[in-house]
């Protein structure tokens, strides 16, 4: 059965990159450009994994993750943060985010993390 992934990032280039990456691996991909759009798409799309950027307009990644986890407690969320945001990483993990990856990330490494989490 095909796995579903929701990619949330305000940068079009990142969304395009990750969309192509996971579509090649036969994932069903959906994208959102900010936290608010992500929250509204989760219930309908029912993703297995959410790849969430931290810094976004409207609702940031941490707040969106908290809102999603409040409704879908078992949702696997991977947060993408900038280097050195240790407080953000700590807060995200405490909020229930499963994993944090720092930018710039290696796409193969990110794919491994996602596949590993999807297999759990």
């Amino acid at each position: 059965m095909q796995k579903k992934i929701l990619i949330v990032d305000d940068q079009k280039g990142v969304r395009r990159l990750l969309e192509e990456l996971f579509k090649k691996d036969d994932w069903i991909v959906n994208t959102a450009a900010d936290g608010r759009e992500a929250v509204s798409k989760v219930s309908e799309f029912q993703p297995d994994i959410i790849l969430m950027d931290m810094k976004m307009p409207n609702i940031n990644g941490l707040e969106a993750s908290k809102q999603i986890l409040a409704v879908h407690q078992d949702m696997s969320i991977i947060m993408m943060t900038a280097y050195g945001e240790m407080d953000v990483i700590k807060n995200a993990l405490e909020a229930g985010v499963r994993k944090c990856v720092t930018k710039p990330f290696d796409i193969m490494n990110l794919k491994d993390i996602v596949n590993k989490l999807a297999g759990e």
Partner: protein, 191 residues
């Protein structure tokens, strides 16, 4: 993204395209685009020099060697620049993405393909006074794209990318000044 989409994106949506390229890192495609641009520029510049009346001093049959050496030097400068920016990025901001920087620098050079044909056309139309402004605009365009490329590849601020971009040149100028001063001090009467 296909090659055409990348070229379109570099011209009309540079930030998001360079962000995409810094992650997907299509290095072979980037090097091909860079080499094609460099080759095209060298060929058009040879025609431009002829149109301006600068007689070619290359012996017959050596044009291929000239182009080959030109491409090798261009490639070496590209690789060297990417390596230096990556090293400085790692030292100053603890961010490294060598292959991403190399890809972005190579694709950032592509709009420079427009400069020699425009200069050639202006020369043929006798608008020589516009040549310098075309050169400056093309230089600024390529430089801006390369700074944005470094920014996207290393996930840093624009000001940080700008500093990284100018730092090697600043160090180079300072070294030259120091060297001249040193020679001046050692050999009385030069300065």
């Amino acid at each position: 993204m296909t090659f055409i989409e990348i070229i379109y994106g570099i011209i009309f949506q540079p930030a998001s395209t360079l962000k995409y390229l810094s992650g997907s890192k299509p290095l072979v495609l980037a090097v091909i685009a860079f080499l094609f641009t460099a080759l095209w520029n060298m060929i058009i510049n040879m025609g431009l020099n002829n149109a301006r009346g600068f007689t070619a001093s290359l012996p017959e049959g050596y044009i291929g060697v000239y182009l080959f050496i030109g491409l090798l030097i261009s490639l070496a400068v590209l690789a060297g620049s990417a390596a230096i920016y990556n090293l400085l990025g790692e030292l100053i901001y603890k961010q490294a993405n060598g292959r991403g920087i190399l890809t972005c620098l190579a694709f950032g050079f592509v709009p420079g393909i427009l400069e020699p044909p425009l200069q050639y056309a202006l020369t043929l139309l006798n608008f020589n006074y516009l040549n310098i402004s075309i050169s400056i605009m093309a230089f600024l365009w390529v430089m801006t794209l390369q700074i944005v490329g470094i920014r996207e590849a290393l996930v840093i601020q624009t000001s940080q990318a700008l500093l990284l971009f100018v730092l090697p040149w600043l160090i180079f100028v300072l070294l030259i000044v120091a060297l001249v001063m040193l020679v001046g001090m050692m050999v009385p009467g030069i300065i």
